[in-house]
Chain length 338, copies 2
């Protein structure tokens, strides 16, 4: 067997920020080159919270991706929706994304009163539309995800048929929650598999490693790694790749977000190989998502070659995750198998 | 009584970084205007670890302060010292400052092996020279101070007459340690009375609020406030004011340090007043330090006026703590009472 080539069949990024305008033009082709499909987050300046907005944003993304075979799975920004609204939108979206108000970039229109969301959540359960959740409280930054578990608990217990996704989990506590709720799924980012708060603020402060949820303890990171490496059936890769122009990162008040899309697959291959777990990588980047979301992503082989490359310092005005680092796997030209 | 003027008799900053060259010229007069004396940290590019270096640095500081009445209490950078070295330097320094190697700015020459420090520490105890300690382990950033308590415990138990100062404590655990060791003292910064990690990394990332030890939980901050407001006898004000040029803060890898010297006294007055504890402010900024260190600082009244002012955005190239904020007390012209 030629072990200098790694073939990934329809790798998926189940949590992606593509932004708009020039930023969309810059970053969409980079995701489209690496992945067969991605779940597109709806937190634009004007939240994507109508079928018309979904349709318009979908068109902009497809245009920006160029000729690459790439399916953007769209999401609606959570608000109170009527059954008619959800029924008319369901074919156009993969799910509805819920943000607590103000918890991260462009989430001001998010949920302020969790006691008031039950009606819409019940509709999502009834219509079998997945609910994707940014699960953080407004408490102490290191405790936000753990504190939010009570909301997840309430959702899981009161809406047992709801397809619930805990987005970008960052703690061992979230993994323990998943054990108690086998019907719930979660996404895990590349950076939460690699970073702890020590990397962000333990030496010099590293704005390019600042994200929400913030990277937690080394124990949390290691628990996530172990779970993913072992092929945990509820964990799906979602990069949460979130580009900000460099001037919004290296400044007086730095925006949260790590731009990892162009390095995600090569670095994941390196991590899984180092853990001697390359065989479970497809479970994480394809299979669990296909099963949970009941999707049929485009048949697209993505090839990684065992050849060293150095991550660029910048893509346009955006500094990528691992900028300047040498990686052992590189993305080769892709081929569609349709 | 005129409550529009607050008179502080010989306020002291028991932990101060003045740097060298142009930075020294910029910041020394700002401390000299606010304080009667300050303890000067020895972590220059070339650590201040000889009597000759102390003498030279002292001269540079006095020159930079101009005509202000201000005593720089010098410190030696901890290394293995002979008894002769310590005896010859003791009149020129207030104490010896110990840094774990690499734990903060310019600490590379610090201690790597704590098992090897006993001989020099015993000399400090014998000669009654205070030992000032940056107390952080090299563990997880939020646990470093708590983990270091075992070193403090060893020092306190094995050198019972050593005058030991825990510098810039940031945790409730350090306060509990002080309760068990009444002979030990500690400094507390202004920023650790005001900040938690939420302020640094809970919203946008704030490089100008990044310091070592990093700000901890709201509970830690509140415990420090309560202790200081109540006139805790072991706690001395030490600003840990640490200027960095703006370009070293707003960049890709941001240096740790908060430049608080010019706002320290006005903001402390505001905090103590808000807590209805203005009467304990002299205990914190003068009396505890005079008693612990057995010093006679210059008799210098510093007057704060109840008049609003806006903290400048910059002093030279340095952005101060609370830049742009309006404070309720302002520093008035000072008068010496000698």
């Amino acid at each position: 067997m030629d072990n200098s080539i790694l073939t990934l069949q329809s790798p998926l990024d189940m949590h992606l920020h593509l932004r708009e305008q020039e930023m969309l033009q810059l970053v969409a082709p980079l995701s489209a080159r690496s992945f067969a499909a991605a779940v597109i987050m709806p937190n634009l300046l004007q939240p994507v919270d109508s079928l018309a907005a979904v349709t318009s944003y979908h068109k902009a993304i497809v245009n920006a991706c160029g000729a690459e075979l790439f399916t953007p799975y769209m999401t609606l920004f959570f608000r109170d929706y009527s059954k008619d609204e959800l029924m008319s939108a369901r074919e156009a979206v993969l799910g509805v994304k819920l943000y607590p108000a103000g918890i991260t970039t462009q989430s001001e229109a998010g949920v302020r009163d969790f006691d008031a969301i039950g009606t819409t959540v019940a509709l999502l359960e009834e219509l079998d539309i997945p609910l994707l959740v940014h699960g953080e409280s407004n408490g102490f930054v290191m405790d936000r995800e753990t504190e939010f578990l009570q909301v997840y608990e309430w959702l899981a217990n009161n809406f047992p048929k709801l397809r619930l996704v805990m987005e970008h989990i960052s703690t061992a506590a979230a993994l323990r929650f998943l054990e108690r709720h086998p019907q719930v799924a979660a996404t895990v980012t590349l950076h939460h598999l690699m970073l702890s708060l020590d990397d962000v603020a333990g030496g010099l402060l590293q704005p390019h490693l600042f994200c929400k949820p913030i990277a937690k303890t080394p124990q949390d990171r290691d628990a996530l790694r172990q779970a993913v490496f072992q092929g945990h059936p509820q964990l799906m890769f979602g990069s949460d790749s979130a580009p900000h122009p460099r001037h919004a990162k290296e400044c007086c008040g730095c925006a949260a977000g790590i731009f990892s899309a162009p390095v995600a697959l090569p670095m994941l291959a390196q991590l899984f190989e180092e853990a001697d777990c390359l065989d479970t990588l497809p479970i994480f980047v394809t299979e669990n998502a296909v099963r949970f979301y009941k999707i049929e992503p485009p048949a697209k082989n993505v090839y990684l070659g065992r050849q060293k490359w150095c991550v660029p310092e910048l893509y346009g005005m955006v500094r990528p995750f691992l900028a300047g680092n040498e990686l052992r796997w590189n993305l080769l030209d892709v081929e569609t198998t349709d």
